[in-house]
Each structure stands twice: as C-alpha cells, then as structure tokens.
C-alpha cells in the first residue's frame, strides 16, 4: 500500500495521467458531439486507428509532422462523413455501420501498413515524424505544477483547448443550438426548419475530426510509431467516459481524466508485485463502475421525478 501511494504522489505520475488522458479525451469529445446530435458514433475506435496510421505514413513520406497531422485529421473527418452517408442517406443502422468501420480499420490498417512498411506489426521502418512538445515559459519553473503540466506534446494542450472549444460550440453558437435541438427531438427540430440530416452530417464529421486528432496523438506524440491495434479499445473507453460525464464537456473532461488516471495507474503498477492481468484490467473495470454510478444516479433522478409527479 505504501508503494502504491509512493507511485501515485509523484510528479511523474501526474505527468503520465495527462499524457494518457489525451487520446481518450479527444475521442470522448468526439463521442459527445455526435451524442448531442442524437447519433451514436461507435466507429471512434476505427477512426483513431486509421488516423494514427495515415499520420505516420504521410509524415514519413513528406517529412513534415504538420502535414501528417493534417492528413490524420482529414482521414478522421472523411470517415465521419462516410459513416454519416451510410447511416443518414442509406439508412444503415449506425451501430452496425460503426462495427463495420471498426472491422475494416483494424484489418485495413494492417493491409496498408504492410504495403507501406513491409511489416505487419510496426511502422518502425518508416521514418515518421513526431509533433513537438511544448515547454510553457515561467510555468515550468514552478515546483510540482511545472513538471506535471509543462513539457507535454502540443496535442495534449490542444485537447484541453478542445474541451473549451466544444463547450463554446455546443452552448454559445447557433450551430450548437441546432445540434442539441436535433439530438433532443429531431421531429421538433425538423418542424422549425432545421435540416436534421445536415446537422447530423456536421456532428459526425466533427466527431471524426476529434477522433483523428486523438489518432494523430497516438502515433505522433504518445509514441513515435504505428503498431497494429494500438488504440486498444480507447475509442470504446471514450464512449463510456462521455456517458459517465453526463454528456457535458466539463463532465467528459473529468471522467476522461479519471480513465487516464486508471490507465496511468495500470502502467506504473506494472513495477509492483501485483499480477499484471489485474493491473491491465483497471481501466476497463473503472469504466464499468463509472457507468454503473452514472446510470444509478440517472435512474434515481427519473424515479424521483416520477414520484414528484404522482404527489
């Protein structure tokens, strides 16, 4: 137990939490936008994975990390649009379409990786670029806070800015109002002249953009290579984080941090004498527990409202 506390209360651990939260946070914000528009984007996992590979390949071939990032974001957005086309125009059940996209991404990335790097496991033969880390001036000299918050990959800061951006988009812009209206009641939104399909297209595209950022971070920040199925369920964890964050930007941010904490804990505990299998289980168990807590609160609220209605 002393060991455990010694592990958690260090600045390196605090730094690690932010580091592993970043991809989950991006994807969770993606889940948030689509959820607000009333569409479930289960393809986040595949979008991240595809974007991670695209980022590596493009940055290796152009020699520019920025171009790699742009390509990764574009890939994510395009996949969002494809999902939108199938679910909104062709009326494919969006969960099935999402499953299909995830399956295609997990196999397709291996297929393309082999063509580009002649390897089915890792992209180490490609000379891909990494996005820069940022030292925050002045801030990084403050003890404790400096080592935790400074020196992260630029996308980690972007992810925190994205929380604010998503908040402003959803609650302070006309588009955000439309997105929420469509998610709340699409028939009502339709009756006042909002194009439901158009709004959902935009929401899914933005969702893909955010997943693309998360994917780019995975292969061009978190690590400097692509490996098969490297997202390891983060897209799904993000969906849970969003649900548990009560579908608000701040809540999503906090729950993403919680999962980041669990993830970082499982990384650092590997040095202690706990069976590795249990340690690796932590983020997933935390997700289920979080989901239960969220769901119980939600149902008790509904029950309370019902009781009050009766009284």
């Amino acid at each position: 137990m002393d060991n455990l506390i010694a592990v958690i209360f260090t600045t390196t651990f605090g730094y690690a939490v932010l580091r592993v939260t970043t991809p989950i946070l991006f994807a969770a914000l993606g889940a948030l936008i689509s959820d607000k528009a009333g569409v479930i984007n289960i393809a986040l996992e595949g979008m991240m994975l595809t974007a991670a590979l695209v980022g590596v390949i493009i940055s290796a071939y152009t020699g520019s990390a920025l171009l790699g990032l742009i390509a990764a974001i574009t890939a994510g957005t395009l996949m969002g649009l494809i999902l939108a086309y199938f679910s909104l125009n062709l009326k494919t059940n969006i969960i099935l379409a999402g499953i299909a996209m995830n399956l295609m991404a997990s196999g397709g990335t291996i297929f393309v990786l082999f063509l580009a790097a002649n390897d089915k496991g890792m992209s180490s033969s490609l000379n891909s670029k990494v996005l820069p880390t940022v030292q925050i001036p002045i801030f990084n000299n403050i003890p404790v806070i400096g080592p935790i918050f400074s020196g992260h990959n630029i996308l980690t800061y972007v992810s925190i800015l994205a929380v604010i951006a998503v908040y402003i988009l959803l609650y302070k812009t006309p588009l955000g109002l439309r997105i929420r209206a469509v998610g709340e009641n699409d028939h009502a939104a339709d009756s006042v002249g909002i194009s439901v399909i158009k709004v959902r297209y935009i929401a899914l595209a933005l969702s893909g953009t955010l997943a693309g950022l998360g994917g780019a971070y995975m292969s061009m920040g978190y690590v400097s290579w692509f490996s098969t199925n490297m997202t390891a369920g983060r897209g799904f964890i993000a969906m849970a984080a969003e649900a548990m964050g009560m579908a608000t930007p701040l809540g999503t941010f906090l729950t993403s941090l919680l999962f980041g904490f669990a993830d970082a804990l499982s990384n650092s505990l590997q040095s202690l004498r706990v069976p590795a299998e249990f340690v690796q289980m932590i983020p997933y168990v935390a997700t289920i527990l979080g989901l239960i807590i969220y769901a119980t609160r939600n149902t008790s609220k509904i029950n309370k409202a019902r009781r009050e209605q009766k009284a």
Partner: protein, 358 residues
C-alpha cells in the same frame, strides 16, 4: 411476402458481389501476380481436403457466436460481449478438462456445460445493468470483453500454466475431455454436430416458443411489447443470458475440438465475426450455417492467398466491412424494391376493380 424474401436474397447477393468486386480491384492494384492471387483466393479452399476441412473447422465457432448474436440482436440488445463469453467459456472448459477426471462423453459434456454457464454469466452483467439502470449494454459489454481477457489469462497463467511447455500455454487437457474427430485427414470434430443442433434449437426457441415470440416482439417494437403485456425487462435479461450461454458453449467446443492445450494470449475475434455472420443471415438461425460457411470460406481463401502470393489476407476485412454496410443499409437498392411494391399494389387494385365491375 414471398417477393420481399426474394428481394432480400437478391440484395444480399448484390452486396456480396459489390464487396468482392472492390476486393478484386484492390488485389489487382497492389499485387504483382493478381491472377494467381485471385484464383488461390477463390479456389484455394477447394484445392485439397485439408483446406476444405479448414473451412468447415472455422464454420463451427462462427456458427456458435453468430447464433448468440442472432438471439441478442433479435431482441435489439446490442450486446457485443460475445467475444468475452466465447473466451471465458474456453477458459472454464480448460479448468474442467484439466482438473477433473471423468469418463469419456461425460467429461466433454461437463466441460462444455461449465463453459456455457461461464459465458452466460458474462452475458448477465450487461443485461442486469441495462434492465435495472438502463446502462448501455453496448459500452459495458465492450469493456467486459477486455476484463474477461485479462481474467482468463490470469486463471491460465497463474493456476494452469505448464511451465515446462516453453510457451505461455496451459497443461495438456485430459484425453477423455477432447471431442472426437469426425472425418479423417481433417480436424473436423464433433462440435459440428453440436453447432448444427444448436442452430435447430435456437430456431425453435426464437420462432416456436412463447419466450422467443416475446423476444422478437420486444426487438421489433419495445413499446408495443410493453402495451401487450410482455415483460420486456425479462426479455432484456434472458436474451443476453442465452446469448452468452451459446457463445460460452462455442468457446468450450472450439477448445476441446481443436486444441490439446489452452493457448490463446489475446481475444480470438470470433465474437465480431459472429456479428458479420448474423447480419449476413438476417439474424435468422436457419441461414446461419450458410453464412458462417461463406465467411469461413472467404477467410481460408484469403489465408491461402497470403501464403501463396504477395497479397495480405487482411484484404478480407475490406470485403466484410463493405458487405455489412450494404446489407444493413435499408435504402440500398430500395428504389427497385419500391417499384416492385407499387407494381404489386397496382396489380391487386386492378384485380379488385375487375371483380367489382364484373
């Protein structure tokens, strides 16, 4: 009604053709020997009895997981925990197959039953969360898959691992617990009969029992089901428990039929494949064997192609993805369907009109 069914078959076939065509274009554009690649892909599984045997062997687990998915999807429960149930079912069967000594026939039966129970427990958790607190079964079942993976690996690595084996594998399974092989020169095992039996049972359950009827009605329209007095909470529970049970049996059968030790270190993807097969079969158990055979054929064909030529077997995932997207797309070819319905309606109107006039 007949015409609708006919239309669905045509639509499925067109979707498969489109997917295959795109895959062929992909092969043509990346391969230096495209014709060899295509022919080994399409005819490879038929080339030797062993290869054809591989197809049938793979059909067995696919049938189990897709039956599990059929039951849950018919109730509109998007529980994706089939993968976890399948895995933990195999782990549970390993425990029985190593630790207990029983006579033949009884031993595999006990192991498979225990696997089924373990699998159904995995199905129960998302079901309870959904029925009690309305928590999304989709997310909780996805998380459970990972938990089951690590739980299973813990059991195998800490209690059943054979340290002398060199690799991370369990002790040898008791000889009496293994399922007998059916056809010499292949590894086709008794699980095939079990799987076909399961197809029949699942079909009868869904279409010939009260529970199955309640399950299907709930899936089609949960509000209607509630108003007509069906206990939809119970349906949500038992559909996922049964689904988990079938998947668990599948995992146990696969282990006892194909292996002599437990040797998986990651989740075998049969749960996701089950979704593909179930969609191809329109969630109808009767079509599951055909759809499972078809997918297994594609997989083995792709494997043979990647061994013989420079095209990687993952090309098959592109085919799968496009197939699912197109088949699940209600609007795909809907213009044609619409025309057919209008024509039928006009015909019946004119017939009625004539009978009134005459």
């Amino acid at each position: 009604m007949r015409k609708e069914a006919f239309f669905e078959i045509i639509r499925t076939l067109v979707a498969i053709l489109v997917a295959l065509l795109l895959a062929f274009i992909l092969v043509l554009s990346v391969s230096k020997e495209p014709w060899k690649a295509l022919s080994s892909f399409l005819t490879g599984p038929l080339s030797t009895p062993r290869h054809f045997g591989n197809v049938v062997e793979m059909t067995i687990p696919l049938m189990f997981t897709s039956l599990a998915v059929c039951v849950m999807f018919q109730a509109k429960q998007f529980n994706l925990g089939t993968t976890g149930s399948f895995f933990i079912g195999a782990v549970a069967a390993t425990i029985v197959a190593i630790n207990i000594k029983l006579p033949i026939i009884i031993h595999p039966a006990a192991a498979i039953l225990f696997g089924g129970i373990a699998g159904s427990l995995v199905g129960t958790i998302p079901a309870i969360l959904k029925s009690r607190w309305n928590a999304s079964e989709l997310v909780s079942s996805l998380m459970l898959n990972y938990i089951m993976l690590f739980l299973g690996l813990f059991i195998i690595n800490f209690y059943l691992r054979d340290v002398n084996a060199g690799a991370m594998v369990s002790y040898k399974l008791e000889q009496a617990s293994l399922l007998p092989k059916l056809i010499p020169k292949t590894r086709i095992h008794f699980g095939l009969i079990l799987a076909l039996l399961m197809v029949a049972i699942t079909y009868l359950f869904l279409y010939r029992t009260k529970w199955g009827y309640a399950l299907r009605i709930t899936g089609q329209n949960i509000k209607f089901a509630e108003y007509s007095g069906i206990n939809t909470l119970a349906v949500i529970l038992y559909s996922q428990i049964i689904g988990g049970f079938i998947a668990g049996i599948g995992g146990a059968t696969e282990l006892l039929g194909m292996y002599t030790r437990f040797q998986w270190q990651s989740l075998p993807g049969y749960g996701w494949d089950g979704v593909i097969v179930a969609i191809l079969a329109r969630n109808n158990p009767l079509y599951v064997p055909i759809a499972a055979f078809f997918l297994a054929y594609l997989r083995i064909g792709a494997d043979i192609m990647s061994r013989m030529t420079d095209v990687q077997s993952e090309v098959v995932t592109v085919i799968q993805g496009i197939m699912i997207m197109l088949i699940a797309a209600e609007r795909f070819l809907s213009v044609w369907r619409h025309r057919m319905i209008v024509k039928g309606a006009k015909q019946s109107i004119s017939i009625e009109g004539e009978s009134v006039n005459g």
